[in-house]
Amino acid sequence: MQQRALVVGVMIAALLAAFTGVGVRWSSAQAPAGQRADGAGGRNIAGSAEPTPRLADGTPNLGRVAGEKGVWNVPYITNMAERIVEADGTTLIERRQSQGRGARGAGAPLGGGEGTTGGGRGGAKSEPQVPFQPWAAAVYDYNSANESKYDPEGYCLPPGGPRMMATPYPMEIIQLPEQKRIFMVFEGATHIWREIYMDGRPHPSGDDLNPTYLGHSVGRWDGDTLVVDVVGFNEQTWIDYYGHPHTDLLHVVEKFARPTKQQLRYEATLDDPGAYTKPFSVRWTIPWNATGELTEYICQENNKYLQELTDDFGKPIFGRKQ
């Protein structure tokens, strides 16, 4: 809940920034052409769909088939608000696609601009489907106004929660049924892995639940769907690149399904009574790259962005103090 304490400072900084014009760009300047696809679906799925691979016991295999290569090409999803399943059962991206417009197609995207290239972002008021609490809306407006300048991933910190499935580097899922656990190995963000306990244990409680970046994950199979329950997040991450905040009360329930060999369907329900007034669900599809393999990516090596980052008053945050 320490985020609440930060809000006052953040709001003051935002007001000062707005007053001086530093970093504030509400203009609707058009971002340039040449955006890549936003992972909304399908472009890597070529040819006829192959059936779900399965382990010897019949459980869906969410990883490689023995003797083959392959990784999940995690898409770049910059704004979770576009992926929220709304009252009619669809997401903004899906509605846009069904109208023949791509994720980066015509029409102003939610939030008012392009994720990585600026062009003005609308903040909380442009996202009525996000059940912000007032302080969370203020933090989000601040992150919108400075175009995600203080994104933790820019500091080479890991994503937390569903952002792991939205940070665009390859990922592998390795099931160890005899050991009753599953590993998810992420090349990117910061070369991270997460362990999902499949042995039926509960989450730790009280002080035994130590807040971490990736949280504590327990999983079970519901038919052909892997259901993972995650709690115990720290507050050092954002829900997405756009900067939707969360608190350490965040509880995520993830569902993974592989209806064909080429597709991983991902859905996550986020319940954070510290930042939002009600739970909401997001979903997208992660395509299989049948020839991919993981490589090394150590973000911390030479992070000039972090070394040179300044605060809203122009002072170095991590670099040599003046």
């Binding site: 970093g23 990585t116 300048k149 820019g154 390859p170 150590i298 911390q300 030479n302 962005y305």
Partner: protein, 135 residues
Amino acid sequence: MRTKCAVLVAAVGLIGAGATAIAHHSFAAEFDARQPINLKGTVTKVEWMNPHTYFYVDVTEANGSVTNWGLEMGSPNGLMRAGWTRNTLKVGDIVTVEGTRAKLKPHIGNARVVTLAATGKRLFAASSQGDTAPR
């Protein structure tokens, strides 16, 4: 024609590789997408490192003075998926760079496409702005 073939091969490779572009820090916070740059010069230094590869180019201005530009690309893993190796760019190479100017720092930019003068080959730089050349 060879150049066109190379571009086509690169483009197909990118589609096949999928998430080749690497997102690390906020592109919008550092670079101004409304200020494209197109530089030609001689490579003076290459830092093949995470989370971004940087290279430096001496650019001769109209008045004859020489300015050293620093240019950011993707990380080595992303660049290798886009067809690069650590020896693709070498000190002394003459290159043309299409990219975007930094908001606050003079002579710093984000490279989106690098063309080697010796071969005419256009290489996509796994930029966090996107894979393709400006249209």
